[in-house]
């Protein structure tokens, strides 16, 4: 399955939006955190997991989804949220903890919820899988169309919840697709030291579903396989497990000294940065450089607008902490 021209541009634009967004967040996150790095300080406090380098997975998959489909995401959710169409302004405002944020500041960066596009997150590793099965089951029971996609990291594939959810999906023939972003690290622990198999696609066999491994962090290859899997789910033929080789260009979270990385790994990863590679591919496919420049400018403007919106928004009253829950 190959993307149309429009789909290619859509993928590229969302990759660029995601990257520019992360770059902006990265800078703002450090405000108030120098010279002493204290997570509690600055306009964006708390943990920050950037997704730089992993954009191809989000766009290659979400290119096949519309607002009605469901995505359950991870602790590293920005690229996934952007590709799923989560409102960028409200998402930025949530990360700033503002009243105009998706959740009025209650959730923050690891808990982005946008019911308008059926997007949810969990900061608990592996916990994207069960809810995706449930949403898929709900669509089936209600006789409504729609596919659920659970994103997870390769580290999460060692969590019980992953295996239980795959078995549910396999035995109930659910319209769900599990997408593992294999960036080869779970914080400081390499996949090779934590996982009994080299590639997680082989685990699909245990749950009677097709498994695919996609090397190279290549948006087009991801588009192809994800498209087949999502079409299969839409047709009622059940779940698929996909593992994608991808690259985490940042630390696990901001402030991570990354001493566990082998010498030279980061440079090698940056040399394979998927964004310039995608641009080259688009140019080779006949897209005019000036059109791509315009697209990049547009992406930058969208990000700037979202960040400005977040900055200029008000904080909710303190006592809002006590609302939106039964007490």
């Amino acid at each position: 399955m190959q993307p149309t021209k429009e789909q290619s541009l859509w993928m590229y634009e969302n990759m660029v939006v995601s990257r520019r967004f992360e770059e902006a967040i990265e800078k703002i996150y450090l405000e108030g955190k120098t010279p002493a790095f204290n997570m509690a300080n600055g306009p964006i406090p708390g943990e920050m997991h950037l997704s730089n380098g992993q954009e191809p997975v989000a766009v290659g998959v979400c290119a096949h989804l519309d607002a009605d489909d469901i995505v359950t995401a991870t602790h590293r959710p920005h690229h996934q949220a952007i590709a799923k169409g989560v409102d960028l302004k409200k998402m930025a405002a949530e990360i700033f903890g503002k009243s105009t944020g998706l959740s009025g500041g209650r959730g923050g960066h690891m808990h982005l919820f946008d019911p308008a596009v059926n997007f949810a997150c969990s900061g608990i590793i592996g916990e994207s899988c069960g809810p995706a099965c449930g949403a898929a089951l709900s669509r089936k029971m209600q006789n409504k169309p729609g596919v659920a996609v659970a994103f997870l990291g390769e580290g999460a594939a060692n969590q019980g919840a992953f295996h239980e959810a795959l078995n549910l999906a396999g035995s109930w023939t659910l319209p769900v697709v599990f997408v593992i972003e294999d960036n080869s690290w779970g914080i400081s622990v390499p996949k090779s030291e934590s996982t009994a198999v080299a590639r997680n696609d082989v685990r699909a066999a245990g749950y009677c579903m097709p498994g695919h491994y996609i090397p190279g962090n290549d948006p087009h290859a991801i588009f192809d396989i994800a498209g087949q899997a999502i079409a299969r789910a839409r047709e009622g033929n059940g779940p698929t497990l996909i593992e994608v080789e991808t690259y985490r260009l940042a630390g696990h979270f901001m402030g991570d000294a990354e001493q566990y990385r082998p010498e030279g790994e980061k440079d090698a990863l940056f040399a394979k940065d998927p964004i310039p590679r995608m641009r080259e591919r688009l140019v080779a496919d006949g897209h005019a450089a000036k059109d791509l420049d315009a697209l990049e400018d547009r992406a930058e403007a969208r990000v700037a607008e979202a960040i400005a919106y977040a900055r200029n928004s008000e904080y909710a009253p303190d006592s809002d902490a006590l609302t939106a829950v039964y007490v």
Binding site: A40, G97, R106, I124, E127, Q159, S194, V325
Partner: protein, 338 residues
């Protein structure tokens, strides 16, 4: 047990915990450590630093992100003669593995009629205050302390942290060791200076099940644990400016709970305020108040008060979280209302 450290040797709680594990691993070959990022990384909160370099990967094991798997494996290893120390990185993650903890670790000794023991330590980080939101900031003291079969401790300073870790490793019962992130002495989490104290180099134990009066007073008893102790001490300073003499009790251990020390203190002061960063209802604060009122309600000159986290998930936004968290001013205000 040493009452007073002899020479100036200030350690953070993180270093004190690591030192206790290092000494016990040297002394006892059955002691080993496992958890996520505890080997080369030294633990996300620094409490296993140096162990991997000294003892290697057989005894200092990075695990997959499989908490049910490795915590229940620790139960099995403990019952087979080892003394595992396992880390649940954030206490909030108990949700994925609680069966291993409360149905296995906590109950197997009883099921075996006392004929088997589960000598393991489950160490886990607690607490918020740095905007890590609702899945990474909880305390859950009450949740763990509620369930019979396991000891539960939480140090407020490095001296206790080391002695409690040593005692926990040597204990034949399972011990849940809850360390507050804000006390760890990791700069990136902010640092409560009062937690970094003189800590002897030689090994020693701090008795599990014994509370400490960390400040003597006559007008009101402030009871807390971990970060709550520091909030109470700061409140006591403020109250002293108004001529009010507050006694501060550090619970140190939740299970067993040293009810006597609390009762004796309130018998003296007649007033009780419990400071607990855990949720308000059904928790440590209610248990402490019940302990006092059940024993002899006539000792109280005023209704007891509790400064706790309201019964809502922990909000991300800094101002909202700070609004919810206990602090010294809230304690002082509670006293004024008495």
């Amino acid at each position: 047990m040493l009452d007073q450290p002899t020479n100036e040797r200030r350690l953070t709680i993180a270093r004190a915990m690591a030192e206790a594990m290092q000494q016990e691993m040297s002394r006892d070959p059955t002691v080993f450590v496992m958890g996520e990022d505890i080997a080369g990384f030294g633990g996300i909160f620094g409490n296993t630093r140096g162990l991997f370099e000294e003892f290697g990967k057989e005894r200092v094991r990075d695990t997959p992100i499989s908490e049910t798997g490795f915590i229940s494996a620790a139960v099995g290893a403990a019952m087979d003669g080892m003394r595992p120390v396992v880390e649940l990185m954030f206490v909030d993650f108990f949700g994925v593995c609680f069966d291993a903890i409360y149905n296995q670790m906590a109950k197997n000794t009883y099921f075996a009629g006392g004929n088997a023991s589960v000598p393991m330590v489950l160490m886990t980080s607690t607490g918020g205050g740095y905007s890590d939101a609702g899945q990474h900031s909880q305390c859950l003291y009450g949740t763990f302390a509620h369930l019979p079969g396991m000891k539960v401790v939480s140090p407020s300073n490095a001296y206790d942290a080391k002695g409690l870790m040593t005692a926990a490793i040597r204990d034949d019962n399972p011990v849940v060791y809850m360390f507050h992130k804000g006390l760890q002495g990791m700069g990136w989490l902010g640092t409560e200076a009062g937690a970094t104290v003189n800590t002897p180099e030689e090994d020693y134990t701090v008795e599990i099940g014994k509370a400490k009066v960390v400040r003597a007073g006559t007008d009101v008893t402030l009871v807390g644990l971990a970060m709550g102790v520091h909030n109470a001490l700061k409140a006591a300073d403020k109250l002293a400016e108004d001529g009010v003499s507050a006694e501060v009790v550090d619970l140190v251990s939740l299970v067993p709970l040293d009810r006597e020390t609390v009762i004796n203190s309130v018998a003296k002061t007649g007033r009780l305020i419990v400071v607990d960063e855990d949720y308000h209802s059904y928790g440590v604060s209610g248990e402490i108040i019940a302990t006092v009122t059940e024993h002899d309600i006539s000792k109280l000159k005023a209704s007891p008060a509790r400064i706790t986290f309201p019964d809502v998930p922990i909000p991300y936004a800094k101002h909202m979280e700070q609004f919810c968290l206990p602090n010294p001013d809230k304690i002082v205000a509670a006293y004024r209302k008495m």
